[in-house]
């Protein structure tokens, strides 16, 4: 049953996932074409000096990828929940011979795994290429800057799942405001920051909303208006 449920989710999300991953890979390709061009023009050492101590354009060579995790979270979340809730097909899902909580968490789990898979493809490629051009220390420093953005994508996915299941439009709007200010915290001017000390706090903020689906789905099941 669970595999069938996963297949249903896959049918809904596959094209969105495909295009968002394609977009992510295109951005990664563009970033490293630029890096490659700079390395050829300036030499590896000089370009690395630019990245470490130089002008912001060199420091922030990876900044184009900043909102890709957010876009991935939005695409997976919207494609998975919005059509199903709007067309009321979610009611059929909730009548499957499984406990509702298990059903909903399997959906959430699928979306989260798809999000991780798309992260793995896009950011795996990013770090593979990054390690070809830069030493490990630079990649590690970039990863610490990227972590809040990756967590932001997770947070937005969980918040979309929660908001989609809410039956009342007014409360959807209120949760939308909470989601906006929550996700904003992951994207405050950090292109070049050492974020290691705040990653635990941001991780808690990203993963706490994964429970929220239970609250709004309960209201949905009970027929709140």
């Amino acid at each position: 049953m669970i595999l069938h449920l996963f297949y249903k989710e896959w049918l809904k999300t596959r094209w969105f996932l495909f295009f968002v991953v394609l977009l992510g890979l295109a951005i990664v390709t563009y970033i490293f074409l630029d890096v490659d061009n700079n390395v050829r023009m300036k030499g590896s050492f000089n370009y690395l000096m630019n990245v470490f101590y130089g002008i912001p354009q060199a420091n922030y060579y990876h900044s184009l990828i900043k909102y890709v995790p957010l876009l991935m979270g939005v695409c997976v979340g919207l494609s998975q929940y919005v059509p199903e809730v709007i067309d009321k097909r979610i009611k059929l899902t909730l009548h499957l011979p499984m406990h509702n909580t298990v059903t909903l968490y399997m959906m959430l789990c699928f979306g989260f795994l798809m999000l991780l898979a798309s992260y793995a493809v896009v950011f795996g490629t990013f770090f593979y290429l990054n390690n070809l051009y830069f030493p490990f220390e630079e990649s590690w420093a970039v990863l610490t800057s990227l972590m809040p953005w990756l967590l932001g994508g997770v947070a937005v996915y969980f918040m979309i799942a929660m908001i989609s299941m809410e039956p009342n439009l007014f409360y959807q709007f209120l949760y939308g405001i909470v989601a906006f200010f929550l996700v904003k915290q992951f994207y405050i001017g950090m292109e070049h920051a050492d974020t290691r000390h705040i990653i635990p706090a941001l991780a808690i903020m990203a993963f706490v909303p994964c429970t929220a689906l239970l609250y709004t789905s309960y209201r949905f099941i009970k027929g709140e208006r």
Binding site: S145, Q185, V208, Y215, Y218, R219
Partner: protein, 409 residues
């Protein structure tokens, strides 16, 4: 039951988000510039001069008032350009003959931002001196001290220069270094008259200095005074006498000089965690160190040998004492701020005095209780009681959060 527990979790998350967003809106609406006060020291009158206490006037610590022109004559070194423009630059200051060239050669300033949290790369270039080239040259590699010891990573070949690395490793092993390094410090670069190489603190909190001269490593272990562990090494590459400022875990600040002495600065109130700026200035007569945090500045005057001559601290107006700041204390039980200093980012949560906000919290808890009764909810139900307690504890944040997530009858 599960849904109601989840609701409480979401309320708590919203309280936290609210503690960032609501005070931010409040401060954007009501926070206005407060009057800042800054200090300087007159080489002529040997008095501290205070900017900002009185509109358009300067005061010294004796209460005398000065105009801007008088002030500029009192601080001829920092006002040299203005005095020269008016043709008032003196031939002697305090009995010492001065020229603009002499003043310029002895003036320096170095501002250390104590809150900076920029990205740390754990590798940095080490320039090579004493070759057949003039000055210093880059060697196309970067130095790092990892678990394998000291390594020079060649950027062009993406590989470690084992020969050069072994040369430095052997030298440092003789000095008893224990890799990996906790942190590298230094600004080893070409184009300067002096290169101090790089510094690193090893895993046993020992400080080492590494330089590369005439194809040979020049390394030394720097014995730290008072048994301190270092929190930061701030290099001073442009000062003729100073190599670095060392910030110890005892809140002591030490000056590492070019003749390898370590001098402790007598900064009585300095605390690395609470102060935001460490501002070092100097001229022909004095070294001046200003330490600053919100609403407070203290200026220390040292002679050329870093002996304390005078010190003076002054408080500025702070937002917390302004009308909006006082009102904020009554409105919010705590405020979470997201800081984005020079490339850094951190979150800080600061509480308010309990006696201020508790009254609003209790009123809001009462309002919530009344609303719940009016809706016909069972106010003795454990989750309704928790709601009221959340509002009593978190005040306006709790009130807003509880209302965002409705509770079923």
């Amino acid at each position: 039951m599960t849904a109601k527990v989840v609701r409480i979790i979401m309320v708590l998350l919203t309280v936290y988000i609210g503690s960032i967003v609501i005070p931010d809106f409040y401060r954007t609406s009501f926070k206005r510039n407060v009057k800042y006060v800054t200090l300087n020291y007159s080489e002529v009158t040997k008095q501290f001069v205070i900017w900002g206490l009185k509109e358009g006037k300067l005061l010294d610590t004796l209460g005398n008032e000065y105009t801007r022109q008088e002030y500029e004559r009192m601080v001829p070194f920092s006002s040299m350009a203005q005095l020269m423009k008016r043709g008032e630059f003196p031939d002697t200051v305090d009995g010492v003959a001065v020229t603009p060239q002499l003043v310029a050669a002895n003036s320096y300033r170095h501002i250390v931002n104590l809150t900076e949290r920029g990205r740390y790369y754990a590798m940095t270039p080490l320039v090579h001196g004493g070759t057949d080239r003039v000055g210093y040259i880059y060697t196309n590699d970067m130095m790092r001290v990892n678990r394998n010891g000291i390594e020079f990573y060649n950027c062009e070949t993406n590989s470690v220069d084992t020969e050069k690395s072994a040369l430095f490793d052997k030298e440092l092993c003789g000095l008893g270094y224990c890799p990996p390094a906790k942190k590298l410090y230094g600004q080893s670069s070409t184009g300067r008259s002096r290169d101090d190489g790089l510094f690193f603190i090893d895993s046993k909190d020992q400080l080492f200095q590494v330089k590369y001269r005439a194809y040979k490593p020049v390394c030394r272990k720097i014995d730290l005074p008072d048994g301190i562990k270092l929190r930061r090494v701030e290099c001073e590459p442009d000062h003729p006498e100073v190599v670095a400022y060392l910030f110890g875990d005892n809140n002591g600040v030490y000056v590492l000089t070019v003749d390898e002495r370590i001098l402790k600065l007598d900064l009585d109130v300095f605390d690395y965690d609470s102060f935001k700026t460490f501002d070092v200035m100097g001229n022909l007569f004095y070294h001046m160190i200003s330490i600053q945090k919100d609403g407070f500045e203290k200026l220390y005057i040292f002679d050329r040998d870093y002996k304390l001559v005078d010190k003076y601290g002054i408080h500025s107006d702070v937002y917390e004492k302004s009308g909006a700041g006082v009102a904020e204390g009554f409105l919010f039980p705590f405020v979470t701020t997201t800081f984005s200093y020079v490339n850094g980012y951190y979150i800080s949560t600061e509480g308010q005095p309990f006696v201020k906000f508790i009254w609003l919290n209790l009123v809001l808890a009462g309002v919530l209780l009344w609303m719940k009764r009016r809706k016909g909810l069972d106010v003795k139900n454990v989750f309704n009681v928790i709601d009221v307690l959340l509002v009593a504890a978190f005040g306006i944040f709790g009130f807003v959060s509880v209302l965002i997530y409705p509770i079923r009858k």
